[in-house]
Amino acid sequence: MPDQPPSVPSAAPESPIDAEHAAFIATAGASISVGSSSADLLPSITRGIGCRIAPDRSRISVFVAADQARELLDDVRATRRIAVVFSEPHSHRTLQIKGRDAVVESLEPGDRERIERYRTAFTAELGAIGFGPLFTHALIDSGGGDVVALAFTPCAAFDQTPGPRAGEPLANAK
């Protein structure tokens, strides 16, 4: 691991995310952003509207509105690359998790409730820094269209909280 650049880690047998990170990802009202890239190296981006994390942290699913993320979904289907950032506005605490095996899936039972819980948590979080609920709802509005899950195995995770440790792998950041 130490000999390799941090952006291309070898496949880790264990999740790079510990239980505390998982709790942060799953329950904090963090802003969620999802990136991918096409085969010809054009990046794509959309906003996430919730997520699910497997109990053993081996799999993360991020929910996105399909008609807001056409290019990103095409890219994920074509290259399976994904990068997801969770950033908590009031504390600036920021994590980035990357995967190389992302797939586009339908929602599972319970995901609608997860999206609703995320909406509540994110609304409270933005409310604390001065944004009203209607604004936050617009920000993560899915337009009533399809919502899909982008499921992937986390293969690398980085601390991106602004400051001297930004960019370090989570294991080193602790």
């Binding site: 990136g35 981006i45 906003r47 980035q96 209607l134 617009a138 960019g167």
Partner: protein
């Protein structure tokens, strides 16, 4: 591309941070939150380069990027396709972003963490409105074009320089609801600005100075670009900047702080706009507010347009005053002045003048005052023409750009504000009348020893 970049400039103000995706040469994507996005022109934006991070590494390998920005009021989101072009590490754009970033850092508790290393310039090739709900935008505070038109009309009516400044500041309050503003002019030496007019402060601060490059005002002047910050930051607080400059240069400049700069103690939003005309800098129009994010891109545009008018009018009135035929008026009979003589002390080194122990003014305005009172005491004259002052070898006008008219305004205001026993009034076109209500005792201090001229007037 149907959406114009200039129409969504508000999204770049950073109320909601931009999110950007880049990808490495091996295709690995990366997502970053941006603390600062800056509108450059209809086709370009600039992003702050603060750390050598993955985003930075990626754009150097692969210049393609995508960015989502959010409207601060409606929540509408726009996705921009970007291509990295170059990085600027000095100059107007860099300085604009550096000042703004200092405000953002201060507001978000990131002072000392956020530091601008460069302005990364990107071309915007596509703008897509992301489907989704949007809130109704708030009604505009006022029509800025209507406000600009009204103040322009007032400017166009001014026939005197001091009235021009007063009308501009009054117009800013009446039409733009900008209640705290000042006009500063560039000293002929080109190294500092002096306050010629202000509005909305407890003390006018007329005559106060700020070195080029210091604070929001000094940087705007040095770089010839508007500097606008939405949150208070110590880094650009001019009071602090002045103190630091004074300390650095030692005792010689201690008088610079003798007249405090006007300014809001709780200033949050600040905008300094260079006043330019005929290809050169004349000064700075500065406005501020105790509210965060009070001035947006449109306010900046309006004040830049207004500063253009102000500059042209300033130059025209200055030139008119220099070409004016003087109208000869008879010398008034000598007036008797009574009471204890006031000691007028002049220091030749910096042309500073004190009335008894009160500092009055220094520099060009100081040398003008000293020449006037010398002649008044020596020959009993009370009227003077602008023309003779302009030619007077004792008055050190550094060059043509240091305008005599502006210096006389400064001097007149300082005398009035100090309620001095000496006053200067206009006495017809291009002429001045000096009146003294107490006898003057002149003392030349420094440079060859004090010279005392005791004389009643």
């Amino acid at each position: 591309m149907t959406q114009r970049l200039d129409a969504i400039r508000e999204c770049l103000e950073g109320a909601v941070p931009g999110i950007m995706a880049t990808c490495a040469a091996d295709g690995t994507p990366n997502v970053a939150y941006l603390s600062q996005t800056e509108y450059v022109d209809g086709r370009h934006i600039a992003l702050s380069y603060q750390f050598f991070n993955t985003t930075r590494r990626n754009i150097l390998e692969n210049p393609e990027a995508r960015l989502i920005v959010t409207h601060p009021h409606t929540g509408e989101r726009f996705r921009l396709r970007l291509r990295y072009l170059r990085t600027e590490t000095a100059g107007p754009l860099f300085e604009r972003m550096k000042a703004k970033l200092a405000g953002i850092a201060s507001h978000t508790g990131m002072s000392g963490v956020f530091r601008l290393l460069g302005s990364d310039i990107y071309r915007v090739s596509e703008i897509e409105r992301i489907p989704g709900a949007a809130l109704a935008p708030p009604p505009p505070r006022a029509s800025l074009l209507a406000a600009l038109r009204a103040v322009s009309a007032r400017i166009a009516c001014c026939r005197e320089l001091d009235l021009l400044f007063a009308e501009t500041l009054a117009g800013l309050e009446a039409q733009f609801d900008i209640r705290h503003a000042m006009v500063l002019l560039l000293d002929g030496s080109g190294s500092r600005l002096y306050t010629i007019a202000s509005r909305g402060y407890e003390a006018s601060g007329v005559g106060s100075e700020i070195p080029l490059g210091q604070g929001v005002i000094g940087v705007a002047a040095r770089e010839g670009t508007p500097i606008r910050i939405g949150y208070a930051t110590l880094e650009y607080a001019y009071g602090r900047a002045i103190r630091a400059a004074t300390e650095a240069s030692g005792l010689a400049d201690a008088l610079e702080t003798e007249i405090p700069l006007p300014g809001l103690a709780d200033s949050a939003s600040q905008l300094a706009v260079p006043i330019r005309a005929a290809g050169r800098l004349l000064g700075v129009l500065y406005v501020e507010s105790p509210h965060n994010l009070r001035f947006g891109y449109d306010d900046e545009d309006a004040l830049v347009a207004l500063a253009g008018q102000l500059g042209a009018a300033t130059l025209a009135l200055q030139q008119a005053s220099e070409l004016q035929e003087e109208v000869l008026v008879p010398e008034p009979p000598p007036q008797s002045s009574a009471g204890r003589p006031v000691v007028v002390r002049h220091y030749a080194g910096d042309d500073s003048v004190f009335l008894d122990d009160d500092y009055l003014i220094k520099g060009v305005a100081g040398s003008i005052f000293w020449a006037l009172v010398r002649d008044h005491v020596d020959t009993g004259r009370s009227t003077f023409s602008n023309r003779e002052l302009r030619l007077d070898p004792r008055i050190r006008l550094p060059d043509l750009s240091d305008n005599l008219e502006a210096r006389l305004i400064l001097l007149r205001r300082r005398l009035n504000e100090r309620e001095a026993c000496v006053r200067l009034e206009k006495a017809g076109r291009g002429r001045l009348l000096l009146t003294a209500s107490r006898p003057l005792t002149l003392v030349e201090a420094g440079q060859g020893g004090a010279r005392a001229d005791g004389a009643g007037c």
